[in-house]
């Protein structure tokens, strides 16, 4: 697979790549699932929203900002008790998904919220004029109209998650970043470091191109 690495290292590489994919995929799935309703809530209760409600909007916004402003490496160790509660352990790949998912949820919720805000107000007004309920407006108008923006947000989140996942080594999460630190840096193996960097670049490029392609496809209609 990678000619300049010996078979043992190659196996480590494959395992690390799978761990990265697991962490990024798992965290992204949770983030999308939780981030979408959270973003809809932020959007609807926000200023000028469909169900404007400062009492609900401010605490939610504060919570999201709190998560977003905590450096990921700190967040990861700060929520260890919570991680243990959810995953049963605070060490390993599965355990690393918990803080990753939390950070990504806050991140993607803001990006989704921004995408919703960009939906033309005229279209929402038209839906109101046609007798749509607020829920119908969210589900049938806001979400579908924001779809290109939502896909772009997912792409950005995935790319950020690849970066965050490099820090998962701190809680024994493994992954390509951890491999790079332990072998490439601590054991002075520049070929491992170079391979990690190259693979991550290719991986991120692939994600970005795929995301862009989907957005273009939706927009062209």
């Amino acid at each position: 697979m990678i000619p300049w690495l010996n078979p043992a290292l190659e196996q480590l590489f494959v395992d690390a790549a799978i761990e990265t994919l697991t962490m990024v995929g798992g965290a992204a799935a949770v983030a999308i699932l939780l981030g979408l309703p959270l973003a809809l809530l932020l959007y609807a209760t926000g200023p000028g929203g469909l169900a404007q409600n400062g009492l609900a909007n401010r605490p939610l916004g504060l919570l999201v900002n709190a998560v977003r402003s905590t450096p990921f490496i700190i967040l990861m160790v700060a929520i260890v008790p919570f991680t243990r509660l959810v995953a049963g352990t605070s060490i390993g790949t599965t355990a690393a998904i918990v803080p990753l998912a939390l950070a990504a949820t806050a991140f993607i919720a803001r990006l989704f919220e921004t995408a919703f805000r960009e939906v033309d107000r005229g279209v929402i007004e038209a839906a109101r004029a046609m007798g749509a309920t607020r829920l119908q407006i969210l589900v049938k108008v806001v979400v579908p109209e924001a779809m290109p923006g939502l896909i772009a947000a997912v792409t950005v989140t995935l790319v950020s998650l690849v970066g965050y996942s490099a820090m998962a080594g701190a809680v024994g999460g493994g992954g390509l970043g951890d491999l790079g630190i332990r072998f490439g840096y601590q054991r002075f193996m520049p070929e491992v470091m170079a391979s990690v960097v190259v693979v991550l670049i290719v991986f991120v490029q692939g994600l970005q191109s795929l995301g862009d392609w989907i957005v273009r496809r939706i927009r062209r209609r």
Partner: protein
């Protein structure tokens, strides 16, 4: 039908005063903008639109017409007043009942406001979907609505693939799919080129006749009013300053703002320098510049030559034009009258007696251009 048993001339509907389709009473809506200035978007507006009529509200931007049309389906809630649509007060209704009523009031927008994520057919289906119409019926109603606006072949296209005029046709089809009795047009043609505007206005008129719609439209273009409206209200600073049959308002505008609107549309300005080149009045003679409006029963009479003979005047026609407003012809002419001052006055009195509209043109107004 009850008409079958009633004898001609005694139909109950004939004597009863028909309930207005839309009756707005004393609407007020104030906005406080950033700072403390209070904007009176609606400052005591009352209007009523008869069933089957096309009623236009014209005004400059900021006159309050946009707020007014949004009060009809309560997209905008007035601070006070009454909004009656099809005989029912809307202001007291709860959310669910209001949504139900909104489905009976179609609305068309300046920027079309179509859903980019849906095909033409799915856009038209939207109001039906929202109202819970079953899928099978939705399909026939969508086909029917698209046929009405002549866009059946574009059903599977997305809005971005359509021209502006086509998009507005989709907007109209969408508004009409739930079979409303009332259509609100919010600057429906303002984003379209003149040719497409004609097309869309023609369509609205046809649909009104075909479907028995009551249409309330707002516009900043008097040309739109002239083209399709039966009656018009002119708004300025949150108030209706003039209201009446389109022909009457055009031929006998009472308010200066209305006159300015009309001058923009039926363009009657005298080229600069024209007056300067007119011959000066001779000794003992006076010169008067005036605008004559030909409308009403005497508009086809040869009044110019008659006036010339009767009062011994020389009448110099500076400009003239014949137009048609709301299907009625009218003419507008600028004259320079030369003659004895008292004869000129007598001629003016005679014109007025004939029911022609006379407006003196001050020399300075023309030279000042």
């Amino acid at each position: 039908m009850s008409a079958a048993i009633a004898t001609p001339g005694t139909l109950p509907g004939e004597t009863a005063i028909p309930e207005a389709a839309i009756r707005l009473t004393e609407l007020r809506r104030h906005f406080s903008t950033s700072g403390s200035t209070l904007v009176k978007a609606l400052d005591g507006v009352s209007l009523s639109v008869a069933p089957g009529e096309i009623f236009g509200i014209v005004g400059r931007s900021g006159a309050g017409k946009s707020t007014l049309i949004r009060c009809v389906n309560l997209l905008e809630r007035p601070d006070s007043g009454s909004v009656r649509v099809l005989g029912e007060e809307l202001l007291g209704l709860d959310d669910a009942a209001l949504r139900e009523r909104r489905r009976g009031i179609g609305m068309v927008f300046q920027h079309f406001n179509l859903l980019a994520s849906r095909t033409v057919a799915d856009n038209v289906a939207f109001p039906l979907e929202v109202a819970g119409v079953p899928a099978a019926e939705r399909k026939t109603r969508v086909a029917e609505a698209l046929a009405l606006v002549g866009l059946a072949e574009k059903a599977k296209n997305y809005p971005t693939q359509l021209s502006g005029g086509q998009k507005q046709r989709v907007g109209i089809a969408r508004a009409l799919a739930p079979r409303p009795k009332i259509l609100l047009c919010d600057e429906a043609t303002s984003a379209l080129d003149p040719e497409t505007t004609q097309e869309i206005l023609g369509l609205i008129k046809t649909l009104r006749d075909q479907l028995d719609l009551t249409v309330l439209l707002i516009t900043h273009e008097m040309a739109v009013v002239k083209e399709i409206c039966d009656r018009v209200a002119v708004m300025e600073r949150g108030q209706v300053i003039e209201e009446g049959r389109v022909f009457d308002v055009f031929t006998r505008p009472a308010h200066p703002t209305t006159r300015r609107f009309i001058a923009d549309t039926i363009g009657h300005s005298i080229p600069p320098g024209t007056v300067a080149r007119l011959p000066a009045p001779g000794a003992g003679e006076a010169r008067r510049l005036l605008q004559v409006l030909f409308a009403g029963p005497n508009s086809t009479r040869s009044v110019i030559s008659e006036a010339s003979r009767r009062y011994g005047l020389d009448l110099n026609i500076i400009s003239g034009r014949i137009d048609e407003i709301a299907g009625e012809p009218f003419g507008i002419m600028a004259l320079a009258a030369y003659g004895a001052p008292e004869q000129i006055e007598a001629a003016l009195a005679w014109f007025a007696e004939l029911g022609l509209g006379i407006t003196p043109i001050p020399d300075s107004a023309v030279e000042g251009h």
